[in-house]
Symmetry: none
Subunit: 205 residues, 4 copies
DNA sequence: CATGAATGAGCCTTCATTCAT
DNA sequence: AATGAATGAAGGCTCATTCAT
């Protein structure tokens, strides 16, 4: 890649990062191109040099976030640790990443009105890929006896986990935590309870 | 209340209900007055007979949702049951209510840009009230040994619970569940794990 | 049609008429919604109450012009006169109509960039219908010996006629003619020469 | 002229040629600098090395077209032929030139909004010059008995001729003619009728 | 009470133009 | 001489809001 192209790619990345933050705060319709531009000390028009339109900019910002997230969890999964430790790390990283980047994972309510069919397919593919990493870990962990989850309920637990994690960005700053890592640590510990059976659930049904 | 006023109140309630559904789907900025009106077979202008402006309409719809939710959980708390049973019922009701009404609890990303300061205060007051019911139950339950939560972490658990519950509306329909109550039952069981210690967490740190 | 609807239809017609004039002067891209609106002492936004978008407004204005023109020529053709007299009247009317309405018949260079495929089909259908009236008259007249045109060249003559007539709006006002009817009369007489053989063409080729 | 200047002039000519084609197709407002540049595999910015602004580029392209056209007709007029033959050749050349270069003679609807006053004067002067060649030929030919046109109607006939000729580019390709020269030949023959009296017009008025 | 009609602010997007390199 | 990058002024369009009827 030439120097020019590298520079351009870097600028695009900057824009996407900034967009991610603002989108997390205001949502798709609440975010204007002006918002994104002025945050970067550019003019609205300049954005159109890098992205075809708002839709594409937002789409790429989501793809970036998802890709980074997938990479994050896959890296952890590849390591040699107990399932419970892997999960702990994955949860920590997920929350930590969202908080530090002030981003918001799949916060766009019903993306059908925003993205084109092609984009939608791609987005869902990535969301799926991300979720699958969790699912596999949960399945393996269950088989190994580390977690106590019947196979047919793994998706439920995974979704509860994701929901709770994604929501964290909504209330974290309000809590005015002194220390992010302590906070994340504590949150993680509780979330791990979701996968750990305690003999208590067995009597249900 | 005169007949006329009753009629008006009833119509307002209808509008708010409809608005809740649409807002849950499209968010504040994505929802137009036209959307709300046409859904009720009215014209845009007519809405302004019942509500001063969009802000007020949305505000009242949120207040309604919150009030109803508070009422719901308080009714449960007043009953004479084990803490764990109360919590189970509260969770079930929360999820069930959101799914059945296709509503969305505090889904508006960062309400600061939407509501007026006064409204904001009121909304937060109500959210607080709702949360407090959970907090108190968790505190009592902990004291009674039903839950295993240190006092300073009750808010964290409560927020995780709310996050996971609020998120359910985002993935429920995709799952294509046959049976709502079964689904909710299953979800609830897992969420209860959040408050139940298993001896496992003690060794952390 | 209710009074309301009649009023609305009338307003639409007014807008279309105005649009026709401005479009004839500035072309599609040179005409702004603001231009059209201010000419009618409205605001831009109001136009969108009557027409979905600029494309539709312009499309409908063209359809109106074409329909009116077709009606005009068909009425003349139905009468009982010599072909040459019919043609004379058709030419006169065409020019007169364009001049008086300051409209412009198919002035949009290459409409493919402007209209949607469906609209394009419709526009072409109407242009065709208009041209066919001329073609039929020319054919009949030729058969009857009034004109001297081989069948395979009727379309050429028709197109030359239309071209010369459509162009009239471009130079008429510059001439500062005192009297429109005299002017049209004179123009018509010359155009009729196009269909009249003089024995001179026979020796060609 | 230095080598450098020659090179520049050549490039300018290329640009103007390309611009003429695109302008003929899309009109002034419909043509972007980008359109012109990309057609020549340049970047937008480069055009500004050769032309001050879009206005100037378009102005010069028109001047070029007009000058070339004037030259064309003057060359023909200088020859020693019968007026009717001269006219035939002029018409042929006009049409042929427009078709082959995909250019469009004064197709810009009302140039007043496009050019500066100075440019406008110049453009009109050239149009005038072009028209005058026709006018003089028609006048001479009438005097010589070759055409049958009263002096005060020469301009009308000339304008009708120009209109019909300029319009040809609009319908030529649609006809899908096999052979341009045959087509032009045929068109020319009919146009010549415009100047040829047949005894028929005399009785008018 | 409700509607049709209109307004005006704001947003997305395009494009002529500029300028440092 | 040419390019990449940026600017800013429109222009198309939406939508909350108003108001006469």
């Amino acid at each position: 890649m030439s120097l020019r192209e590298k520079k351009k790619a870097k600028k695009k990345a900057e824009i996407l990062q900034s967009a991610l933050t603002i989108l997390a705060e205001k949502g798709y319709h609440g975010t204007t191109m002006e918002d994104i531009a002025s945050h970067l000390l550019m003019t609205k028009g300049a954005l159109y040099y890098y992205f075809k339109d708002k839709q594409e900019l937002v789409y790429e910002s989501q793809v970036k976030l998802l890709n980074k997230s997938i990479e994050n969890v896959q890296n952890i999964c590849k390591t040699d640790q107990l399932p419970i430790e892997k999960l702990r790390k994955m949860i920590k990283l997920h929350i930590d990443y969202l908080i530090r980047n002030k981003s918001s994972f799949e916060l766009m309510a019903k993306p059908h009105e925003i993205f084109s069919p092609d984009q939608l397919i791609q987005i869902f593919r990535l969301r799926e890929a991300y979720a699958r990493v969790y699912d596999e870990l949960l399945r393996e962990g269950s088989k190994a006896g580390a977690f106590s989850l019947p196979n047919n309920e793994i998706k439920i637990v995974r979704n509860l986990l994701l929901g709770a994690m994604n929501w964290v960005t909504q209330w974290h700053d309000a809590a005015g935590e002194k220390n992010i890592s302590e906070f994340v640590e504590s949150v993680t510990n509780y979330l791990l309870r979701l996968v750990q059976g305690c003999g208590l659930n067995d009597e249900d049904k």
